[in-house]
Symmetry: C2
Subunit: 283 residues, 2 copies
């Protein structure tokens, strides 16, 4: 099903290429698929079972010593849909195998340590799917835009991030980094909507507009961060996010393809199958 719906794999299409420029990507586009909101959403719901099976295999493999895990790093401006990705792109997976962590501004305790200290503690265990809703990238994004770190420190951090992610990959963690790319105009629409719906008012923070007023600076910070930290072992995917049905489907598909590439199978029993069948039959 998924093989035919996509004209090109979103894991290739949205993956960062050399010479990439953020401003060349249209946040309102839906690359690689000829679908509508309705058919795209239907496809996503249909694929939930496949996602559950792949997650099951990842988890099962860890019970026989497999070290594999998955880490999804989500970045994007406010209202770009990070929360919706967690709810909808991961739907179908069992909550037993998923650990989501939202990174806020570091606490006084966390500030005493290097910026990766608190992140390392949240890396997924073998068999698990970890999700970072914002991440260590804020330390080169917000930190750059708001001048929370000097240029030398920022420069060092890109290297530290690459080393950190390389280590995690070497330990068996497949890393998918997603930037949800939304247009400035679409953010305005979403903020207006957020301020009109009682169920959304609590999500609004006046500081969202402060960030918005630094839109260009944020885009620059993203461009630099993406260029410097998209690696073979931890690639960035820039996913157009003005259409939520598309970003949710594309991220689900990238996760599906990444898990499929692990080529995991159900573990073989370490007990004597014939014996145990007899034992059970006799009880």
């Amino acid at each position: 099903m998924s093989k035919t719906a996509w004209s090109e794999k979103p894991s290739d299409l949205n993956r960062l290429k050399p010479g990439f420029k953020l401003k060349d990507v249209d946040p309102g586009s839906t690359p690689g698929i000829n679908a509508t909101k309705r058919s795209g959403t239907a496809l996503r719901l249909k694929q939930e079972g496949t996602l559950r099976e792949l997650q099951g295999k990842l988890f099962a493999d860890s019970t026989v010593g497999g070290k594999g895990s998955l880490l999804l790093v989500l970045q994007g401006m406010d209202t770009s849909g990070k929360g919706g990705i967690v709810t909808h792109s991961l739907a179908g997976m069992s909550a037993s195998g998923v650990m989501v962590h939202g990174f806020k501004a570091p606490s006084p305790e966390e500030k005493k340590h290097g910026f990766l200290w608190r992140v390392r503690k949240r890396l997924p265990e073998p068999g698990m799917v970890g999700v970072f809703d914002r991440s260590h990238y804020e330390d080169v994004l917000a930190a750059r835009v708001r001048h929370l770190a000097d240029p030398k420190t920022l420069d060092r951090r890109y290297h530290q991030i690459n080393t950190f992610e390389q280590q995690a990959a070497d330990n068996g963690t497949k890393i998918i980094k997603v930037m949800l790319l939304m247009s400035e105009e679409e953010q305005r629409r979403r903020l207006v909507a957020r301020l009109r719906r009682p169920s959304k008012l609590w999500k609004y923070n006046p500081s969202d507009v402060d960030d918005r007023e630094l839109w260009r600076q944020h885009q620059e910070a993203y461009q630099i961060a993406l260029e410097r930290t998209s690696t073979h072992h931890a690639p960035w995917y820039v996913v157009p996010a003005d259409h939520k049905w598309y970003s949710r489907l594309a991220v689900q598909q990238i996760i599906l393809e990444t898990l499929q590439e692990l080529n995991l199978d159900w573990p073989r029993p370490d007990y004597d199958l014939a014996d145990e069948r007899m034992r059970v039959a006799g009880t």
Copy 2:
């Protein structure tokens, strides 16, 4: 919808009553609802959105200082369907707000502490839904059946559990304790099936049959534990589980009703709404 489908609320129906006897409950029954596997499953899927909204309110409330959280404790013999409850009864909720912990035999480090030490660390934070897949109840169930603790210690543990749960409830945690009640014959069928499906073989452990051979002792241990620890602040629900569609739907419904009783609403904004609407419009 749910109000009409149930002839009696499963939160009343399956809740432990004084004089309760485990052997009086039919594991193959589907009390309180006139439904089939198909219609029961359809109802469960239909209610996922309601569950998501209620979880959203619980989480939102915590962002303005609310202390409420939910804890679902799952107990039952092997193959009684605890994992399926996590996957299906909680489906619809955002993984951001759910923390599942499976309790295994305690580690050497954990054994150095009281039996509730490791459990306390897993209590849900405000706004979160915590799930225990097995729990501190193993310390009065397996511990009793396998004589891992002397009678005096066991006796003390029921009190300790009640005090512990009372404290958690006082701190804002709504506690739902579910025993999935399956018949001995149904377990045999499920173990046979588990040993026939490549996707299930890894879940089988030869010790499952050892436990099965102590069926009567387990039922006795459950009877005592349920009697002694079903309290107003942390009630037990005994849910017939030979029909998975029923147990998944009934647990979803108990969660729904429990969350509805919290009567939570979306938080009111702590900023000036008119001002912020103007600000956003001006960007």
